[in-house]
């Protein structure tokens, strides 16, 4: 983990409030794993005050790092408008990661809206390891505008299934409907390969994914969000209720948790905000 200055080298709008920020000068992020995040702040004066947590979308050679964000408030609006050359401060890489792709399991990567980045990076890493065959992505949003970077995801060579609530792209419905359909098909085919689920998206979607995984007896990992001030386990602001201890911290114990660790406290935790975008 390092604290350093980086520069926006490209800011690509994807429509619907989504944009990809490409940063240069991120050598300290080399070796980051899918699920890890950074705390990012621009030259904003005092408003907003705190840095904003953003997941890594992709980390490439020569200090390049990509982020995918959606405008939901002041901080993300300022990021969306930051031109190439803008200076940003970065603290990272932070947090833990999803389990690495493995030849012995099939991973179902379930992404809701702007919850895509860690699963995108997981898919990229599976492709690099030559394990694209063992990963499938299920990606849902409210409308087709909430499904972004589809060409890049297909480029990884993994199977991709889409769902939109308005039916404008892929299955009409939620990504969790798509997940249930996939598991039913799997059962019919009685595939030998065990399954693993990894998910990131709005809280309600995550709890639904967790419940589905539980009912099918499948290992499941959820990437959570909470309000954060420090990102390094100091402010104790990002607490989530947990099984093994009263609270766990999204920034240092997570953001990725086994679903069984955080699921029993759904009623408490669901009062908190969740990532923008639809399921």
């Amino acid at each position: 983990m390092r604290y350093f200055d980086a520069r926006v080298i490209e800011n690509r709008s994807l429509g619907g409030g989504y944009f990809v920020l490409r940063l240069g000068g991120c050598e300290p992020l080399a070796g980051s794993r899918p699920g890890q995040f950074i705390m990012l702040r621009g030259d904003w004066g005092r408003d907003p005050l705190l840095p904003r947590p953003l997941s890594l979308l992709s980390v490439a050679h020569e200090g390049r790092a990509d982020l995918l964000a959606k405008v939901v408030g002041k901080g993300t609006a300022l990021m969306e408008r930051s031109p190439p050359g803008s200076r940003v401060s970065v603290l990272g890489p932070l947090g833990n990661s999803f389990p690495a792709p493995s030849a012995d399991v099939t991973d179902l990567l379930v992404a809701g809206g702007v919850g895509l980045p860690p699963l995108f990076m997981q898919a990229e890493s599976a492709a690099h390891l030559g394990l694209a065959n063992g990963s499938e992505m299920l990606y849902g949003g409210r409308t087709s505008r909430d499904l972004v970077l589809l060409g890049e995801i297909r480029g990884f060579g993994i199977a991709l299934r889409l769902a939109t609530e308005d039916g404008s792209l892929g299955r009409r419905g939620r990504v969790t409907d798509e997940l249930e359909a996939r598991l039913d098909r799997g059962r019919a085919a009685a595939s030998a390969q065990p399954l693993r689920i990894m998910a990131c998206g709005p809280r309600q979607m995550l709890w639904a994914v967790g419940r589905i995984a539980q009912s099918h007896g499948i290992d499941c990992y959820l990437s959570l969000e909470e309000q954060m001030a420090c990102g390094i386990g100091v402010c104790l602001g990002c607490a989530v209720a947990a099984q093994t201890r009263p609270y766990r911290y999204v920034c240092k114990d997570g953001p990725v948790f086994p679903a069984s660790e955080v699921m029993a406290h759904v009623s408490v935790a669901s009062t908190s905000q969740s990532r923008g975008g639809a399921q």
Binding site: Y3, L49, I232, G233, V234, A239, V268
Partner: protein, 317 residues
Amino acid sequence: MILGADSLEKESPALLTTCGGIEFRNPVLTASGTFGYGQEFDALISLRGLGGLVTKGISPEPRFGNPPPRICETAAGMLNSIGLENVGVEAFAREKLPFLRSCGTRVLVNFFGTTFDEYVDCGARLAALDGVDGLEMNVSCPNIQAGGIEFGRDPLVLGGLVKACRAVVRKPLWVKLTPNTSDIVALARACADNGADAVSIINTITGMAIDVRTRRPKIATVFGGLSGPAIKPVALRMVYQVYRAQIPIAICGIGGIQDGNDAIEFLLAGASCVQVGTQSFIDPASAERIIREIEEYCRAQGVTDVRELVGGLALGQ
């Protein structure tokens, strides 16, 4: 760094200072609750360069804190309601202190209890530990024996508490005052009269925020402590009120310090040293930068010893 002829000629100002019975390399400390137990920042800044650090508040037994959401951002500040979560005295001594002992800076341990006896017990145990340079009492906790009113709001209660702790703490004893009072001077006097070595002014200001979309409070406990640049004018006013009252006690200024000039304002108002709090979340290396900026200010103003600045507010014509 290339030194210009100018900076070669002028000597570095002396930053060494004393506050509440402790000598500090420079007047910049990091505030309780914003700097963990020090180790979390080891990779981010040079701890040796700090004047000192104040740990997270320690209670006799571990505490788990409040339900989420615990924090939210407000205009130029943030609200928190962490619930005094900490590892407890024993785990602190076992797991956190060894690092602090070797980190090369002054270590003050913030502590609290929920009863008189807990305060005294906690203070005595912490003061006995090697590697603890001094204690800072957090008196903004509810007194469960007195209907949950904060210990630190009533000068009489506060005075009694300070006296009881003073009797068992043979190291420098500071008291972090709550701003949620109509008479900060009376609180500071109660501390001085009962043998405290310094007052830290101020703790967070009670506030709240509402999410209009859901109509719910933005933090689960409804009320929380406001910190950040939003509170600096209030903090500065309270430091100056206590300084002006000529109470024989040293002052450590806290509240919304973001840069060297903010720190200098507190020194001019009468603080002997300052603590950087919320700014460590915004810029984890800020304490280091603030020390540099104080040095630059002194050079530019021809100040050779930072202690000259304390209480140097110019009034009148």
